[in-house]
Structures are given as C-alpha cells and as structure tokens.
Homo-oligomer: 154 residues x 2
DNA sequence: GGATAACAGTTGTAAATGCAATTATTATGC
DNA sequence: GCATAATAATTGCATTTACAACTGTTATCC
C-alpha cells in the first residue's frame, strides 16, 4: 500500500511538492523531448513546428489550416506563418477549398513526403531508446493517461 | 489481452498512428494545459514562465539563474530575460553569491511570495477538475511514467 | 431574402525566444 | 603558480510567436 500522492500535487496544499505535480512533470518531459528531438531534426533542416505539421498531414490530408492548427495545438496566426515558411520551402502546398470559399486546404508535396520519411528515420532511434523499458501494458497505460489528461482539459 | 501498441507509436513504422505516439500526446496535453492555465494566470497578472519560476523558488531558494533555468527546462538566455522582467515587477531579487563570484542567487520577494500564493489559489480548482477521476494508484502511476519518460531523455 | 452573427484566414505590431559571441570568475593540468 | 579550460551570466540580433484588428465567406434567424 503506497501513500496517496494526490494531495501533494495540489498547488494549494500545505505540503505541495513540485515532483508530485503532474503538469510540472508533463511540461518538463515535453520540453526535454523537444530539446532532444530538435537537434535531430536540425540535421535534416526542419524545426519542430514543421515536423508537427508533416506528421499531422502524413496521417490525414488535405486539412484546412485551422484543422492543422487545432491538431497541433498551435495558435492559428502562428500556424499561418508556419504554413508560409513550409510553402516557401516547398514542403506543402495550399489550394482553395471547392466546398467552402473561406477555407484553404493544405497538403504535402512530394518533397514534403520525402522530408517526412527522413524525419521518421532520424527520430526512430530516439523513440526506441525512450520506449525501451516500457512493457506493452505500461505503454498502453501511458497512452490512456495522456489521453485522459487531455480530455479533462477540454 | 490487449494489443501491443508500441509498434504503432514508432514513427518509422508502416502503420504509424499519431494517437499512439506518446510524444504527440505529451506535447498536446502540455500545450493544452498551458493554454488553459495561462488564462487563469492572466487574471493575476503573470504569465507561464513567471509562474514556473515562482513554483520552483517556492520549493527551494535561493537558486542560481542556471539552476532555475535547468529546473524549468528553459534556455538560459531566455531565463535571463524572464528574471529581468520578474525583478522589474518586484517578484524576485538577485544577489551575488558569496561562495562563487560568477553566480547570482535568485530569491522571492514578499511580493513574489504573495503572488505565488495567489497563483496557487487560482490554479487549484483546475487541478481538482483534472485530477478528478484518477485513483491514488493511477495518480501514482502517472507520476512514475512521466518521471521515467524524463529520465529516459537524459 | 436580407440583416446579422459566426467563422476561416490574413496581417501589423510588440514582445518573447534562442543562437552565438562576450565578459568575468573559478577549476584543472602541468 | 600559471596557462588553459570550463562554467555562469550577459547581451546583440534575427527569428518566432501571438494578440488584436481586419477581410471575405458562409450560416442563422426573423
């Protein structure tokens, strides 16, 4: 029987501890991951925002700029600038939507697809390294927990 | 017996899925949390970086600028600017270290302590809301998983 | 069907970020 | 003990970010 750590992670608690605060740990893990992954991505000439967009479009396309922004949890106006840069770099292209005159559809170019393949290659070893030590059950639990955190933030 | 999802989360996998990629979920959860928490913090006039520094100093002080930066996983030069702003706002103060002439020690002012108390008050309800639904055991598992992810990224 | 609201995208602007170079101080090797 | 390397903090500068205001298009309500 282990101690109930939930009160310790409550910011308003008397005996609050940073290392029991899930969002501190969440941000810390995410930040560190980004630092590590960024140096890998630099080698193939892309940054984290571009990589996120590539990943998102790699799974479903075309997507509107708004949809991409929402998926990536990135501000719409920031996403505009990212789309601009990526278009200039030839990674993606945009077309006005047939169905809705307000919408611009974003999709990968061949160059973008190739870059995504490169990105997968350079990030895969890192993935293996980090996942090592997680059993299938633990991995599944991790996904569920992250999903739940996200849902609770709706 | 559930399926082993680990291969699905591998970026180089044939049938890769974003929603099985832990770092996508990690970043998404962290981003959303930041968006939500930011609007709470705005009400008491601080931003996320300042809040992170307050939390860190609230647990241990004084700390060198470098230590604060490391704890927060924020670039040192960025942390310099944050320290500057917070000093100007009267939340923290800095003194040269006795022991090491290169080091500047950072600590909370009374105003900083009061602001930290405010921050805890406005963030606590959010904490409760998000934590609700997690058992003590699940909560503990969550902390362990985040800790492990972080350690694996060393 | 026309006014009004909601929505997708776009841009100006100010602030934040981080790389790279610099200074000042302390640790290390011989 | 002195030269050299390592470390902590600092700043210039170019890039990135996001708020707020704006345009154009579609949905809603009477």
């Amino acid at each position: 029987m282990t101690e109930d750590l939930r009160p310790l992670g409550n910011p308003s608690s008397e005996n609050f501890r940073l290392d029991a605060y899930p969002f501190y740990l969440l941000n810390r893990a995410a930040s560190r991951y980004n630092v590590v992954i960024e140096s890998e991505l630099r080698r193939i000439g892309i940054d984290i925002p571009a990589w996120r967009v590539l990943m998102i479009l790699g799974e479903a396309q075309p997507l509107s700029i708004g949809q991409v922004a929402k998926s990536a949890v990135i501000n719409m106006s920031t996403m505009m600038r990212i789309i601009e840069r990526m278009t200039k770099a030839g990674l993606i292209e945009t077309n006005p939507s047939e169905a809705d005159g307000r919408v611009k559809e974003v999709l990968l170019t061949d160059h973008g697809k190739a870059k995504l393949a490169d990105a997968r290659i350079v990030t895969a070893p890192l993935y293996d390294k980090i996942i090592k030590g997680f059993s299938a059950a633990e991995f599944s639990t991790m996904l569920q927990i992250l999903e739940r955190l996200h849902d609770n933030l709706e």
